[in-house]
């Protein structure tokens, strides 16, 4: 039962990872750029929600407005900073995204300080019990909201005309240009969607774990997620996120205590630290060794 409890908690956090990772994949597919600032967008979305709630708005309304604001931040980043870099090498653009992350962190640190803040209650407080498993409303809401949004986003990408244009841009920029798709606009849309997903994911994570500038580190967890799923697979990002969330929860709840018990018995070591934070990177190395293209990724092939 305890294991199931951990799995459910892992799915909740993992589905939020999936939201954030979806944004990274979206931008990568459209422009070939790995957006290192994604954790920064998640953190900013959470701080916006916090600030709006502090200003007196209902936290849920604050979250909604924060997500819209994040869309504007994503659009401005792409239009003002990245679009002028059209002819710059992809690596240079990626370094700029790293700069954006550092800037976001510095600004948030300046305004809100380094301390952990109590995040406003987005969902009603309380716990429900289902067959001996206890779940807070926060976790249930995080799972439901993330799952619905992931599904809605994947459906949008697969079945709408705008989704088709996004897929065209992601598949072949030259061909997209030739059929009159405004590729720059599509990349802007990808940044808007990515920033909105990150902002929402950041606020949900803050509602589960509290808020500080360290929330921006979530971007580093998102990278193993997308490598696990396959860099270009949106479904892979979702599955990767959930797998990683569950692994982290199981490590934290079962593996770490078991190792610590053994260590205490035979050595003078009492703690192995936050082992769950190592898991994503261990998994990253393992996946890269065994299946470099990720679970859902495909090997690039070319007719010769």
């Amino acid at each position: 039962m305890f294991t199931l409890q951990l799995v459910i908690a892992g799915v909740a956090v993992g589905s939020v990872y999936a939201l954030i990772a979806l944004g990274i994949v979206l931008i990568y597919k459209c422009s070939g750029v790995v957006n290192f600032a994604q954790g920064g967008y998640a953190m900013l979305g959470a701080f916006f929600t916090y600030a709006l709630a502090q200003a007196g708005l209902h936290p849920a309304l604050g979250l909604l407005i924060a997500v819209v604001l994040m869309g504007a931040v994503g659009a401005l980043t792409q239009i003002l900073i990245l679009r002028p870099m059209l002819k710059a090498p992809v690596v240079a653009v990626m370094m700029v995204t790293l700069g954006i992350l550092i800037t976001f962190r510095a600004v948030c640190l300046f305004i809100w300080g380094p301390d952990q803040l109590a995040f406003p209650q987005l969902f009603p407080a309380g716990v429900i019990e289902l067959g001996g498993i206890f779940m807070t409303y926060n976790y249930i809401a995080a799972v439901l909201l993330s799952s619905v949004l992931c599904a809605a986003f994947l459906a949008f990408y697969r079945y709408t005309p705008l989704g088709l244009m996004q897929r065209c841009t992601a598949d072949n920029t030259r061909a997209a240009l030739a059929i009159g798709i405004d590729v720059s606009r599509q990349v802007t849309i990808a940044w808007v969607a990515s920033a909105m997903l990150a902002g929402l994911g950041g606020a949900l994570l803050a509602s589960l774990n509290g808020l500080s500038v360290n929330l921006s580190n979530i971007g580093l967890v998102a990278f193993p997620v997308i490598v696990l799923g396959g860099m270009t697979s949106l479904v892979g990002a979702v599955v990767g996120g959930v797998v990683l969330g569950v692994l982290q929860a199981l490590t934290d709840g079962m593996l770490t205590p078991a190792i610590e018990r053994v260590l205490r018995e035979y050595t003078e070591i009492y703690s192995v630290g936050a082992l769950q934070q190592v898991i994503p990177y261990a998994l990253l190395v393992l996946v890269l060794l065994v299946r470099p293209q990720g679970i859902f990724g495909t090997r690039e092939s070319e007719r010769v």
Partner: protein
């Protein structure tokens, strides 16, 4: 219809790909654009289609006009809307999407009458109808060439530009591609520019021939005035 005047193009601000080119395609004509590798054929077509900024290229001098309106500085989307379609070299399509999605995507700019245009495309390329649900990346070279021409037709162009459509195709397929180009020109009255290295079949359908060499127009003549020996001399010069 299309008039290019004194066009010079540089890549990375250094490499000169076109050097003061004058080029014209009159309405309803088939214009052959010949020349060896690196002569500037693809660059000229990309410059007309507004694709150069996306390939580190810049038009450093000259202008392009289509039906009297300047295309200089316009993005590819606007140029496509004005009635110009470019079938690029390398059979550029969306290989992870289905054939049907490729054709549907190509009609975004002109949604009105897109189903009639799809019928038209399928009448020219009946084989595509069988593959509408198949991933484009699984098609053969010849089928892909048909798909990319079909996508260009979905754009409802008045000027169709084809960049080396025969490259890498079997002789039978080359024959079919040129037959289709001829039919498009004859049935729809479409103006067509075909850039090619290999010539014989193209010379049968062309009304006008330009030969490029090292970024300049080395020869502009009717097809009757061009023979293999003359071409060989230009290609090797």
């Amino acid at each position: 219809m299309l008039k290019v005047s004194g066009m010079s193009v540089r890549y990375d601000s250094v490499i000169v790909a076109l050097n003061g080119i004058d080029f014209e395609a009159a309405e309803g004509r088939v214009v052959a654009l010949l020349g060896p590798n690196g002569a500037g054929k693809s660059t000229l077509l990309k410059a007309v289609a507004g694709m150069l900024p996306f390939e580190q290229g810049d038009i450093s001098d000259g202008r392009v006009a289509f039906n009297g309106a300047s295309l200089s500085g316009k993005p590819p989307a606007a140029i496509t809307r004005s009635g110009i379609a470019l079938v690029q070299d390398g059979r550029q399509c969306f290989r992870n999407l289905t054939v049907g999605e490729n054709l549907r995507a190509a009609s975004f700019r002109h949604p009105n009458g897109s189903s009639a245009r799809l019928d038209l495309v399928l009448s020219y390329f009946p084989i595509l109808e069988e593959f509408l649900d198949r991933q484009a990346g699984l098609l053969s070279g010849g089928q892909l060439q048909m798909l990319v021409i079909g996508m260009a037709l979905m754009l409802q162009p008045r000027l169709l530009m084809l960049d080396e459509p025969s490259l890498g195709l079997s002789p039978v397929m080359v024959q079919s591609v040129f037959e289709i180009v001829e039919r498009l020109h004859r049935d729809l009255g479409m103006t067509v520019i075909v850039a090619e290295q290999t010539v014989p079949r193209l010379m049968q359908i062309a009304d006008d021939v330009y030969v490029l060499s090292r970024g300049r127009v080395a020869l502009h003549a009717p097809p009757g005035d061009i023979n293999e020996e003359r071409l060989q001399r230009l290609y090797l010069s």
